[in-house]
């Protein structure tokens, strides 16, 4: 219990004995961060599919695969945190509808099986059929299995793929809202915790998810394009940056609304919460989340992206703009991760007595440690790499029907 001894030295004021050590650790920070990226990336894909934002077409498949890569990893932090992953399937067998946490499996399964996998399958089916016909060896078999034997490429069948894909995306938007709104709901419904208990929580989570998802796909798009020695489509990037800006404005406004509402309401917890923000969370909330993760990217995107004025308030060369977009997206990732940190860890740093603060001593090794969390943050990118190899999202990899060729 050495870390506990260390923690005890830094406890401040009166706290209850069971509050000294935090129960929801770094892994629970990773969980909403990863789910947020899933929902955000999917919403971005839906901009292309449902709202016909043609400029974003180059990122459509990439964002779907990104969402899938991150979605596969999303439950892993929970499984690692709860331990006994061999029991996880029981929540499917004996569903408890009275427990929001116990319903996670169904929210997750709905999103994975009914929305994401189906949409990707319908979108790739034509390519899968053509690839399996042209390729040799293992790839041929993998692609053939993935077609599920539906090899009909008649124009009627291809049209059906498209309309089915569109229909699923329409279902997918509320589903993505459900997925991440659900994560916010879990925190927002903890009525005993004044830092979490807020009806705004699901919607704040949702918009921060959209922000983080768009920023991630922007980063991945630029990096993958440069790695493939292709030209980055600036029209697409400008559009991405504009949407990122709009989402960030909404996200920031909601956060501020929550903040002002708390201040004005000034419930009995306001004293300890102010102390929390100005001491324990100063770096992660004021500096990282608000200044570096929100205000600075807002200014950068507001000035250089065409979000506010047709060609940007400040005319910049493409290379510089690209660099600034990447910097803004990277800052946003840091900011959103800090947001998750501030919610999850921040909510456990003050005592329910409202008279004291504890500290979070992060572990390095062990299942709840930094290394595992780092691995879980890296794993989606590795999965994405596998998915990209298996289902190349690039325009040049797209197979064309013989008649069209």
């Amino acid at each position: 219990m050495e870390p506990l001894g260390e923690v005890l030295k830094q406890v401040q004021g009166y706290i209850y004995p069971n509050e000294v050590e935090l129960h929801w650790s770094l892994l629970i920070v990773v969980y909403p961060y990863v789910t947020g990226l899933v929902a955000g990336a999917f919403i971005l894909a839906s901009l292309v599919r449902v709202f016909n934002v043609k400029e974003l077409q180059p990122t459509y498949r990439l964002s779907l695969l990104t969402a899938l890569g991150y979605l596969i990893v999303a439950p892993l932090p929970l499984l690692a945190h709860l331990a006994h992953p061999e029991r996880a399937f029981e929540i499917f067998l004996t569903p408890n509808v009275h427990s929001a946490m116990a319903m996670f499996g169904f929210v997750y399964a709905w999103y994975l099986m009914v929305v994401l996998l189906l949409e990707i399958w319908f979108d790739y089916r034509k390519d899968l059929v053509l690839w399996s016909a042209q390729e040799k060896g293992v790839r041929r078999w993998v692609h053939w299995i993935l077609t599920l034997g539906a090899t009909d490429l008649s124009s009627k069948a291809v049209r059906f793929d498209q309309s089915a894909g569109r229909f699923i995306t329409i279902i997918g938007i509320p589903s993505a809202f459900l997925l991440h709104g659900y994560v916010g709901f879990i925190f927002g419904s903890v009525k005993a915790n004044p830092w979490w208990s807020s009806v705004l929580m699901p919607i704040v989570f949702l918009f921060s998810a959209i922000v983080s998802g768009i920023a991630l796909v922007l980063l991945l798009y630029v990096i993958s394009t440069l790695l493939r020695s292709k030209v980055v489509d600036m029209l697409c990037l400008d559009k991405l940056a504009s949407f990122l800006f709009y989402a960030l404005v909404v996200d920031f406004s909601l956060e501020m609304l929550d903040f002002i509402h708390r201040l004005y309401e000034a419930e009995e917890s306001i004293g300890i919460l102010s102390q929390l923000v100005s001491s324990r969370l100063f770096l992660s909330l004021v500096i990282l989340q608000a200044l570096l993760g929100t205000i600075l990217p807002l200014l950068m995107l507001g000035i250089i992206s065409p979000a506010l004025r047709g060609r940007g308030s400040l005319k910049t060369p493409d290379e510089l703009r690209r660099l600034l977009y990447v910097a803004a997206a990277a800052l946003i990732q840091v900011g959103i991760f800090s947001t998750r940190w501030n919610v999850v860890i921040g909510g456990q740093l003050f005592s329910k007595s409202l008279r004291g603060l504890t500290v979070y001593k992060m572990q390095l090794l062990g299942i709840e440690g930094l290394i595992v969390a780092g691995f879980l943050l890296l794993l989606p990118l590795l999965l994405l790499l596998v998915l990209i190899v298996l289902l190349p999202p690039w325009p040049e990899a797209e197979a064309h029907l013989p008649e069209a060729a």
Partner: protein
């Protein structure tokens, strides 16, 4: 029906069928009969050996103590909380003697000072509260008296009392310098004793013209120490000799 839809339906049918079969095989038969748990778990727990006897069993032989205990402040603390599981003892009382905690460390498990305990719950500081004495020398655990008002300040402020006892101020009662509301002894955190608020207070003995014995050190209140209160420089519970 489009070919894709047919294939997907097969996949979903396999999944749903798999779920139904798995549910059938894995969910215990009695699950959900009484609530969101396996009803047969109750029987499984029932067949485990009994370890506790319950206080009614104690009354059969120890009626006097149970009667006393039933009237006191510990009446809601069951016998077995302190004496341990008693089922074996009820079957063979001589062979299975029950322990009685007599060590000083035991009672502070509940009565040691902890800010999270409710106000008014009797609490002591185990370090300063009559050190070394086992609790049961003064308190009868079967009928603990309501926490009577400490007779001396040293009951709670032992460290200060012991320091003062060997200092030049040993003969001064605490209340000479601290006005202590009566309520402080009953509810220490509600009302605090005060401290001398001006220099003239110490001057009653230590000023040049004070009507006190000659051996008491004197200072000129007008020039000594500026605007500071005496106790901001001198520790009154152990004032320096010179």
């Amino acid at each position: 029906m489009p070919q894709q839809l047919a294939r997907l339906l097969v996949v979903f049918a396999v999944f749903t069928g798999g779920l139904v079969v798995t549910r059938h095989l894995l969910i215990p038969k009695t699950f959900g009969q009484r609530g969101h748990y396996r009803a047969a778990a109750v029987t499984t727990i029932q067949v485990r050996p009994l370890r506790y006897a319950g206080r009614e069993a104690c009354a059969d032989c120890h009626a006097d103590i149970v009667g006393l205990h039933g009237k006191g402040r510990h009446q809601t603390v069951s016998c077995e909380v302190c004496h341990g599981p008693a089922a074996a003892h009820t079957l063979a009382p001589v062979e299975n003697q029950l322990p009685a905690p007599r060590k000083r460390a035991y009672c502070p498990l509940c009565h040691g000072y902890d800010p999270s305990r409710p106000t008014g719950f009797p609490q002591i500081d185990p370090v300063s509260h009559n050190p070394m004495k086992p609790c049961i020398t003064c308190h009868n655990p079967h009928q603990p008296e309501p926490p009577h008002v400490p007779e001396e300040c040293g009951a709670c402020h032992g460290e200060i009392a012991r320091t003062k006892a060997v200092s030049r101020h040993a003969l001064l009662p605490c209340t000479q310098c601290h006005n202590t509301p009566v309520q402080h002894k009953v509810d220490p955190r509600l009302l605090h004793p005060d401290k001398p608020r001006n220099r003239e207070f110490c001057g009653q003995c230590h000023a040049k013209d004070a009507p006190s014995p000659r051996e008491i050190p004197r200072i000129d209140l007008a020039t000594h120490g500026g605007r500071y209160l005496c106790w901001q420089c001198h520790y009154p519970h152990m004032p320096e000799v010179d």
